[in-house]
């Protein structure tokens, strides 16, 4: 009796975009987060085309006008057109977020890699520094740094640098632990045995596998950077002339906006910030769900 070889029936795999679409439809937080982010980008881009950016600075418009047809979002105590201020503020927030987030992620990836891949004293040093810095509330150190700067020196760029100074620890630890586990995987050993150089292993074998984690760390860093710069600005440590969203809220509260009935002044930047941080948080949650399927089960 001959052995019957059983071939599994052909399984039809849907195309990649279709799969992606199907996944995003199920991963609601990712879908909503991305949609809101896109809308915000659209608002900023269209805003720059439609509104004069100069209107975002003091004395460009009549003061204290509530929202009207002429000034859709009203104007503030200093004569800024708040619609223009929102557009510019949104853009500046994005600059700080992407710049600081990108830089923080980059430093984190490099440090995490070096620390985990080469181990030894470098690893211990990086690990100890992270451990010691963890209990120190990051914002407060940022307050010290921002406070030590001449107020005229504080710009969007310096904000980004202040924020990034202590923000690399998160990604460093994440990437470090991922590289540590990956180092033990078979494919890395195989590459090592077949004489691939350290750099070759890092760039050809490990890095591609880390991309999802790096992407998640990046979004997390953008969130953290936006958050931190917002807090600094609310405390009055931001670039005071710029219509950064936190600055507007700080200015509004300093002038007692609610007491004086100028409700639109603090509310508008607050809503904008909620949309930005909320959508970023949703994207982070969605990416978590992607990376950690256990979370998916509960849906």
């Amino acid at each position: 009796m001959a052995t019957v070889v059983w071939t599994p029936a052909e399984v039809i795999q849907p195309s990649r975009p279709a799969l992606l679409f199907r996944y995003i439809r199920r991963n609601k937080s990712l879908a909503i987060g991305l949609t809101v982010l896109l809308l915000l980008v659209a608002f900023t881009v269209i805003g720059f085309l439609a509104v004069d950016a100069k209107q975002a600075y003091p004395l460009a418009a009549p003061t204290k006008r509530p929202p009207s047809l002429q000034y859709l979002l009203g104007t503030d105590f200093f004569g800024r057109n708040l619609l223009a201020a929102m557009v510019v503020g949104m853009w500046q927030t994005a600059v700080i977020g992407v710049l600081a987030g990108g830089l923080g992620t980059f430093i984190g990836v490099v440090l995490g890699f070096v620390s985990a891949y080469f181990g030894g004293w470098i690893d211990s040093a990086v690990k100890s520094v992270c451990q010691i810095l963890t209990p120190i509330p990051v914002l407060l150190i940022q307050v010290v740094v921002a406070g030590s700067l001449d107020k005229r020196d504080v710009t969007i760029l310096t904000m980004a640098f202040i924020v990034v100074m202590l923000a690399w620890m998160g990604p460093t630890l994440v990437i470090r632990s991922q590289v540590l586990t990956m180092k033990e995987r078979q494919f890395v050993s195989v590459a090592k045995l077949s004489g691939v150089s350290d750099l070759g292993i890092i760039f050809k074998e490990i890095l591609p596998n880390l991309l999802p984690f790096i992407a998640a760390a990046f979004v997390g860093q953008v969130f953290a950077a936006v958050f931190a710069s917002f807090y600094l600005a609310v405390l009055g440590l931001g670039p005071l002339r710029e219509p950064l969203l936190g600055n507007i809220i700080w200015a509004a509260q300093t002038q007692g906006a609610f007491f004086n009935g100028w409700w639109w002044w603090p509310i508008e930047p607050a809503v904008a910030m909620i949309l930005i941080l909320g959508s970023l948080a949703l994207v982070i949650m969605g990416l978590d769900e992607l990376a950690n399927p256990r979370v998916r089960r509960s849906e």
């Binding site: 451990q131 010691i132 810095l133 963890t134 209990p135 120190i136 509330p137 990051v138 914002l139 407060l140 150190i141 307050v143 010290v144 740094v145 406070g147 030590s148 700067l149 001449d150 020196d153 969130f223 958050f227 917002f230 807090y231 609310v234 405390l235 009055g236 440590l237 809220i249 509260q253 609610f258 007491f259 409700w263 603090p266 509310i267 607050a270 910030m273 909620i274 941080l277 909320g278 959508s279 970023l280 948080a281 949703l282 949650m285 950690n292 256990r294 979370v295 089960r297 509960s298």
Partner: protein, 333 residues
Amino acid sequence: MRTLWLVVRRFLFLILVIWSASTITFIIPRFSPRSAIRERFALLARNGGFSPGDLEKIITAMQTQFGLDKPLLQQYVDYMSGVLRLDFGYSLNKYPSTVIDLISQALPWTLGLLLVTTILSFLIGNLLGAIAAWPKAPQWLRAVATPFVLLTGVPPVLMGVLLLFFVGFRLKLLPLGGAYSIGVIPNWSWGFALDMAQHQILPALALIFGSVGGWVLSMRGMGITIQGEDYVNFAEHKGLDGVSIFRDYYLRNALLPQVTGFALALGTVVTSAIIIESIFFLPGIGTLLQDAIKSNDFPVIYGIVLFITITVATLMVAMEFVYPLIDPRIRKQ
């Protein structure tokens, strides 16, 4: 013996953290292009407090008084020994007051707000998160957590602005800020206590709404992990009722890592409270900090930063010693 070594090690770690934080606050201002004293007195001079000619003399005198003319190393040693005694020097703005005086005047306000809101949001958040991850919980109960999850990304400050707008400004239910109504003289009466409580509701709600979501999320994640554990399954095989399984097998185990998370979140919790204060014009550390920032009162800024860092780090280490009391596995070691 091993326990003793563990205690010593954690204590050394604590000292290391405090040393790092104080060194950072020592170094950064000395690299700074700004001179706190010069700015302060230049401002006074401009306002006509004294003749500009005397300015340099006064600045030199003040720098001597603050010890800024000594060699850097000497300054560092003085500074560090000050930190050990919780002596952060004098306020520039409210001169004869020391920094620690100002802090201790502001502290009760911040502490009161923090304690109530932190405990409430930890309890509410973890319970809601545990329920949200529990498949057998009634659907409507599981859904209660959803709005909080949606609010996760929203920092308490923004929650504060929204509450101010809707509850304070639109509905006029609660005051728009301050610790008590303007014109009222603080006294020990029920009327004043009620007035004060009314002023604390919105900031407290902002803090609670702003932080419950985080606990819900992490507890939900933890709950999903725990409900897959063998002992939860076996509890069901044993025929236990749902409430017992939820309380004794699922919640108790899921809550343990959350306590560690609580220690780690302390820094964020304190920062949120500080910023909330400045939005609601509440007296407290946050307002003290914001005033100091406005008036370039650097000793106060650094003093607050150091004080909070020391407190948070100490609490974090202390939590590690509390943990064995609630987890028998660690108690043994």
